[in-house]
Symmetry: C2
Subunit: 442 residues, 2 copies
C-alpha cells in the first residue's frame, strides 16, 4: 500500500459475510463519495470469503465470493484483511496468515483478541504491520481510539462500562416490563438481540473479554479474561429488579477495572446503579463507558454497542485509518498493546470491595433481622439501610433487604455463609454489588 497523498484505491479482503460484513459492504458502497472526499481513498472490496459462494451468484455488488482464504489474503492488490467471521480458531489462523503476508488486519473479534491478542500483536509487530480493533469493544463508540490517543496524556484510574448490548437489552426489558429473566431472554432471541445459545453474553464472558481489551489499553498491563471476577445475569430474579427500583436503583451488568494500591481490581457483575447516575439511563442495546483519568476527571462515552451499521462504522473507520497510515503509525509507536506489556497484577476477588445489596428470604420469626445484622457486624460490615416490607398475615416467607457500606467480598462471603446457616433463613441469600463511583481526580 502506497502512502502518497491524493486519490488512491486500497483493496481489502473481507473474511466473513455475516451481519457486520454486510454492513461494511453497505457503508463502503453507499458512502463511497463521502469517504473519498474526506480521505482521498476509495476502498475496494476485492473478495469476500464465505462458506457458500453460490449464495452470492446474483449479488448486486459484484464482489468476488470465495472459500479460499489464502487466495483472498494473497491477492497483491489487497492491502488490508478485514476479519468479521467470529469464532477463535479459524480467524486466528487467517489473521496470522495475513500478518505473515505483510497485510494489515482489521478485526471486530474480542474473543480472539482476549485469548490470543499477545501472540497476534507480536506477530504484527514482527512483520511491520498493524492490527486495528475498534469494533471489538463498544460497537460504534470510538473508545479504543480514545484510550490509546485522545486520553493518552492521562493516568487512567478507573474504567466502568456497560459493554454488552444483549445483557443490557434483557435487563431493560426485565426492569421496564417486570419480566422474568427467561421471558426477557426469549424476547431478545425473538428480535435477534440474543443468540440461540446466549451463554457467552449472559454469563458475562463477552463483557469480560471486552474488559480485558479495554483494561489492557487503559492500565497498560496485560489483562486476561481469567484476571476478571465474573458473575452473569442469568440468575437474576425479577423480584430483585423490583426491590432495587423501590430503593432508587436499576441493575446493569457492568465491567469494572480500577487501580487499587498498585493492583487492578477487575470484575464483571450485575450492579445496582443509582437512578441519578448517567449509567442508569443507558437502555436497550446501548453501551456506555466511564473513564476516570488523572487529568480529565470523569469522562463518559455512550452509543450503540452492537448492530450492523454501528459495528460496521467502527470497522470502516479502522479500514480508513489503516489505509491513511495513521493507525499503522500509532500501532508502531504505542506500547499499550497486548504483547508489549507486563502481565496484570490482578487483585484477588476476595479482596475487592464494594457496597452490597442483600435479600434474605426468611421465616417471619423473632430474631431473624437481629441474626443477620449480627453476622454482618461480626465481619466488620456496616449496614446502610434495611427494608422489610409489610406482608399479608399468614405469608410464610418474608424478604429482608439490606444494603451495606463498603466491605470486601471475602468478609461478605463469610457473613453470607453464617446468614444462610441460620434456621430461619432460606438459603441462598441473594447478594449484588452497588456501584460507587470513584472520586474524580482521586
Amino acid at each position: 500500500m502506497e502512502k502518497t497523498v491524493g486519490e488512491q484505491t486500497v483493496g481489502i479482503a473481507l473474511l466473513g459475510t455475516g451481519v457486520v460484513g454486510r454492513g461494511v459492504i453497505d457503508i463502503l458502497a453507499q458512502q463511497r463519495d463521502l469517504l473519498r472526499s474526506r480521505t482521498g481513498l476509495t476502498i475496494e472490496v476485492r473478495s469476500r470469503v464465505c462458506r457458500d459462494p453460490s449464495k452470492y451468484e446474483d449479488d448486486e455488488t459484484g464482489i468476488k465470493a470465495t472459500t479460499n482464504i489464502a487466495d483472498a489474503i494473497g491477492d497483491p492488490k489487497t492491502g488490508i484483511v478485514v476479519e468479521v467471521m467470529g469464532g477463535i480458531d479459524a480467524p486466528r489462523h487467517a489473521i496470522s496468515a495475513a500478518l505473515a503476508a505483510g497485510k494489515h488486519v482489521v478485526t471486530a473479534n474480542k474473543a480472539l483478541l482476549a485469548a490470543h491478542g499477545a501472540e497476534l500483536f507480536e506477530l504484527a509487530k514482527k512483520h511491520g504491520v498493524s492490527i486495528a480493533f475498534e469494533a471489538s469493544c463498544g460497537g460504534g463508540i470510538p473508545i479504543i481510539d480514545a484510550l490509546t490517543r485522545g486520553l493518552v496524556a492521562n493516568r487512567i484510574d478507573a474504567l466502568i462500562g456497560i459493554i454488552n448490548g444483549t445483557c443490557n437489552f434483557i435487563l431493560t426489558q426485565m426492569a421496564q416490563n417486570g419480566w422474568t429473566y427467561a421471558d426477557a431472554l426469549k424476547e431478545a432471541q425473538r428480535i435477534g438481540f440474543a443468540e440461540a445459545d446466549p451463554t457467552m453474553d449472559v454469563s458475562g464472558r463477552d463483557s469480560a473479554q471486552k474488559l480485558a481489551i479495554l483494561a489492557t489499553l487503559a492500565f497498560n498491563q496485560q489483562v486476561s479474561e481469567t484476571d476478571i471476577a465474573l458473575t452473569g445475569i442469568d440468575t437474576l430474579k425479577a423480584e430483585d429488579l423490583q426491590f432495587v427500583d423501590d430503593l432508587g436503583y436499576v441493575i446493569k451488568l457492568l465491567g469494572i477495572g480500577e487501580r487499587v494500591e498498585g493492583q487492578l481490581a477487575l470484575r464483571v457483575h450485575p450492579t445496582l446503579v443509582h437512578k441519578g447516575d448517567l449509567m442508569s439511563d443507558v437502555s436497550g442495546g446501548f453501551n456506555a463507558i466511564s473513564v476516570y483519568g488523572h487529568a480529565i476527571g470523569h469522562q463518559f462515552f455512550y452509543g450503540r454497542g452492537a448492530g450492523q451499521t454501528p459495528t460496521a462504522s467502527a470497522v470502516v473507520a479502522d479500514i480508513l485509518g489503516v489505509a491513511m497510515g495513521t493507525i499503522p503509525h500509532a500501532f508502531e509507536r504505542l506500547n499499550v498493546f497486548h504483547g508489549r506489556l507486563k502481565k496484570a497484577r490482578a487483585l484477588p476477588a476476595d479482596q475487592m470491595e464494594s457496597r452490597f445489596y442483600l435479600r434474605a428470604t426468611t421465616q417471619d420469626t423473632p430474631g431473624v433481622l437481629a441474626g443477620m445484622t449480627q453476622a454482618l457486624a461480626r465481619h466488620g460490615i456496616s449496614i446502610a439501610a434495611v427494608h422489610q416490607p409489610e406482608i399479608a398475615a399468614g405469608t410464610k416467607h418474608v424478604p429482608i433487604v439490606v444494603t451495606t457500606h463498603k466491605a470486601s467480598e471475602g468478609a461478605m462471603q463469610k457473613a453470607l455463609a453464617e446468614i444462610d446457616a441460620m434456621k430461619s433463613v432460606q438459603a441462598p441469600t441473594v447478594f449484588l454489588r452497588i456501584l460507587e463511583r470513584p472520586a474524580e481526580f482521586g
Copy 2:
C-alpha cells in the same frame, strides 16, 4: 522532527503561561515516565513565552522563560509550537510564523480558529506541517478526534452540544438554587468559572465559535461564526427556570447543527431539555456532545469542558499525536478542515424550526388566552400545552405559559409581534426553544 521509532525527545515551545500552559507543564513533568513508556517520547519544554520572565526566575521547572516568540519558534530543537496564549492577533501572528518556519502547531484557541482557521490551515498545508486543536472544543473530550477519525465512516446528520462550561455552570446554579442570572454570574466569577468580562461566554459567542469548528468537521462544509443564529443566556429570568422545571424541563445553552434539506441549520440558544434526556444531567462545568451519524445512530460524549488539567489533557494528547506522526499523517490526508471545503449553505434563521416555550405576562382580563392562541393559529402554529397558574386575587400580572409543536422561527416571530401588540399583554413575551432530538438513522 525525526520519525524513527524508539526513544526520542521532542522539543516544544509553549506560548502562553496561563492556567492551561501550567497544566501542560505539570502533566509533562508528573507523567513523564508514563508518557515515555506509552509512546517512547520525552517531551521537552524548551521555552515558555510570557510577558514577564522575571516571574519565573525561581521557578522549579527550570524552563527558559522569554518574551521573544521568534527565538522560541526558531529554536532548532523545537518541533512543535503550542499556543495557549488566547486572544486573536498575537496568536495568529505567532502561529503563522511557526507554520512558515515548518513547525507543527498545537492550539486551544477556538476564537482564532473560528475567525482565521481557513487561512491558517492553508498555510499549514503549504508548509507541510499540521495544526492540532483538540483542546479548542469540549476541553478534555476527544470530540475532534472522534469526528475526524473514529466516526469518519458516518454521514453526520446532527450535532447537539453543551460546549460552554461557564454558561452551564451559571444555568445549573440558577436551576438548583433558584438564583437570578446576576447572582449566578457573580458566583461563577467569584470561584473563577467566569471572567471579569463574561460577554464571550454568556452571549453564546464562545459556543458559536466552537460550533463553527465542530460543524465544519462534522458536515464538511466551512462554517463561520456568522452562519450561526445566536442567543445568549444573559437575558434569562429565574422565573422561567422555575416554570420549565414544573413542565419537566431544564434550560441548557445548546449549540445545534443539523442537515435540513441540503442546508445546515446552525444555532446557539438557551433550550428546554426534557429531564429524561441525558443532556439534562450535564451539570456545572461539564460539557456534552450528541452526534447523530447515519451508521452509528446517536452517540454521546460527556466530560469536563474546561479547567486546567482537562484542557491540558487534550493539548498534551495533541503534542504526543504530532510527535508520533499520527496527527500530521491524518492532517495531510483528511479534507475536512477549514480551507479545504466549500462555504456552508446555512439555512436562514427564520426558516429554522423547533418547538417553542412562550411566557406572556398578561393582565387578568377575559380573552387574553383566546387572543394569544388565535395569533399562534393565524401563523399555523399548533399548541402542545397551556399552563396558567392560579394566582392570588388582586395580582395585577398573570403569567400564561404555552408550549407549541414544531414551527418556524419566522412564523413564531410574526405571532409574537401580534401577541405583544395585544393591549392585555405586557411585552415582550418570553420565548425559548425546546430540544427535539432527531430520529436515529433518520
